[in-house]
């Protein structure tokens, strides 16, 4: 018994001690909650921000990261995860923090430039070496001999962008009022799907590791990362002429930041993403950026394409969610046997 309580005391005191060391190591701590595939991005960004903050205020800052699907993260925050800032890949997942939990102000999109989206991407294709199925545009994806892989729009923001991008192309191609042709196109596209993974990384695994499908449809940033990682001679990137503007929204979780007294540093953390240095870093991770100087530097990396917004295609996220993705919505109707 004596021994046990001795061990217990040692564990307890070392826990307390490590807590104390951690608290004294940085003047402040913030938690950045983000989507799955941004882990490496923020692991690179955080040190540069720490340096920036120290130069600006003389204070040290510790930044913690948490990554999972962004809808899951939004849920966790509403259930009490003490996030100071969110950096998501879906506007609706930020919006829900206002709509359901009142944790952020209603006008959060006006807080930072470009709809509070410091970087963006679009939906692009990854095809196998030599492009054997000759895929160049959305129109090629509905041919009978083509098998597609993209994440399920029901469970993934990435999948929702894919659906909306295809929808935008169909509107552009057939004319907005030609509903029967548009529906026909979309239902063919959905029929050609070989596997519906629940998230973007799952779809990547299915296409790359399992060798399923002829085309992987995902964010342009992810497409480029895969090609860099798995060898440029294995895959080819196809960016369709018409695609969607995929915004990556950020926001300070005001309610938590107020409580932790970290509002100022949280705001600066997100605002610094717009600086030239950070935009260069983001472009290095294959995200499209807004800064004109950096844009010119990376011009050959990001082909000029027409990017339609969710507003133009479906009248905004709330409308799209309600009419297309919700239970019994357009997607359900098109997938009916």
């Amino acid at each position: 018994m004596q021994f046990k309580s001795g061990v217990f005391k040692t564990i307890l005191s070392s826990l307390l001690l490590s807590g104390a060391i951690q608290a004294s190591a940085a003047d402040q701590t913030i938690l950045n909650t983000s989507y799955d595939i941004a882990r490496e991005l923020f692991a690179t960004y955080n040190p540069t921000f720490q340096k920036h903050w120290q130069e600006k205020t003389g204070q040290t800052i510790e930044i913690k990261q948490s990554h999972a699907g962004s809808s899951k993260q939004a849920n966790a925050i509403m259930n009490g995860l003490q996030a100071d800032v969110v950096t998501f890949n879906q506007v609706t997942d930020v919006q829900v923090l206002h709509d359901k939990a009142r944790m952020i102000p209603e006008d959060w999109k006006a807080e930072f430039p470009n709809n509070s989206s410091p970087y963006y991407s679009t939906t692009a294709f990854l095809v196998r070496k030599g492009n054997p199925k000759n895929i160049h545009s959305w129109g090629d994806l509905v041919r009978d001999d083509v098998a597609l892989v993209f994440p399920n729009p029901k469970t993934s923001g990435n999948g929702r962008y894919t659906y909306l991008a295809a929808y935008g192309y169909a509107q552009h191609h057939f004319g907005k009022n030609n509903e029967s042709n548009i529906d026909d196109f979309l239902s063919h596209l959905l029929k050609n799907v070989a596997v519906f993974d629940t998230g973007g990384r799952g779809a990547t695994t299915t296409f790359v590791e399992r060798g399923i499908g002829d085309v992987l449809i995902t964010f342009e940033s992810e497409v480029n990362n895969i090609r860099n990682q798995y060898g440029e001679d294995q895959y080819e990137v196809v960016v369709p002429k018409t695609s969607i503007l995929a915004e990556f929204p950020v926001a300070v979780v005001t309610k938590n930041a107020k409580k932790h007294d970290t509002e100022e540093v949280s705001h600066e953390y997100l605002s610094y993403l717009y600086s030239e240095a950070s935009q260069r870093l983001l472009a290095g991770f294959n995200y499209r950026i807004h800064n004109d100087v950096v844009k010119a530097e990376f011009a050959d990396k990001f082909p000029e394409v027409t990017l339609l917004t969710v507003e133009e295609i479906a009248g905004g996220w709330p409308k799209a969610t309600k009419e297309i993705f919700r239970n019994g919505g357009k997607l359900d109707q098109l997938q009916r046997r």
Binding site: T155, R210, D332
Partner: protein, 285 residues
Amino acid sequence: MATHLNVAQARPKHKRVLPGLGLSLGTSLLFISLIMLLPMTGLIMQSVDMGWDEYWYVITNERVVASYKVTLWAAFFASIFNGLFGLLLAWVLVRYEFPGRRILDALVDLPFALPTAVAGITLATLYSQNGWYGDLLTSLGIKVAYTPVGIILAMAFTSIPFVVRTVQPVLEELSPEEEEAGMTLGASDWAVFRRVIFPALWPALMTGIALSFTRSLGEFGAVIFIAGNMPYVSEITSLMIFVSLQEFDFPAASAIASVVLMASLILLFAINVWQARYLRRLHGR
């Protein structure tokens, strides 16, 4: 409290190791309430804000109904498979001595220890068209990964210990005298199995199969990685719950979950009642 102690003291002391019935029953009930009933009540409460019409609409949605069918059929085949091979495995483990028996016995529990998502990813790797087994099967024209067969495979993998572990102790208890008696009376091996062994095993086997079945109904991690998740073809019910959660539609998620819960409860209850009756008849009481 005082009365409980009195009751306990009134009983002969040597009979029970645990302190009085009142105290142990109370503690058990408290923990059942905290660990099982409270979360389940929470689950049901979430769907209470929706009206009956809305509840009915959610649980009878075409796509959700299709997922019930997929889940039920897959769970059915998986538990039948487990019934056959679980019995065989239990038989081998109990009745034969061979090198490595202890290791094999320990391996049976592995699916319980392994995170089911890991199992799902591993199975998908092995059975996809460029995996070890998948390569072979594809050349024979059989597709497992990303088809309903994959769902059965994942369900069978995660729930086979239930059958083995329920059958094993009964097999161990079975006295060889009855078999020997049968043999000396001239019965064939098959007759002995059918008339002597099987009736004694049957209740345990059924329980194992039922447990395997209910476990399969709720399986998520292992299945979604190998199912392909095509609407109306290979979507399981737990994925439909997951989808509702992703849409922040908690009432709908708990509504569908309540259907699964109800099905499992009814099944387990029925199996218990049936087993009690069967045992009474078997022992001639």
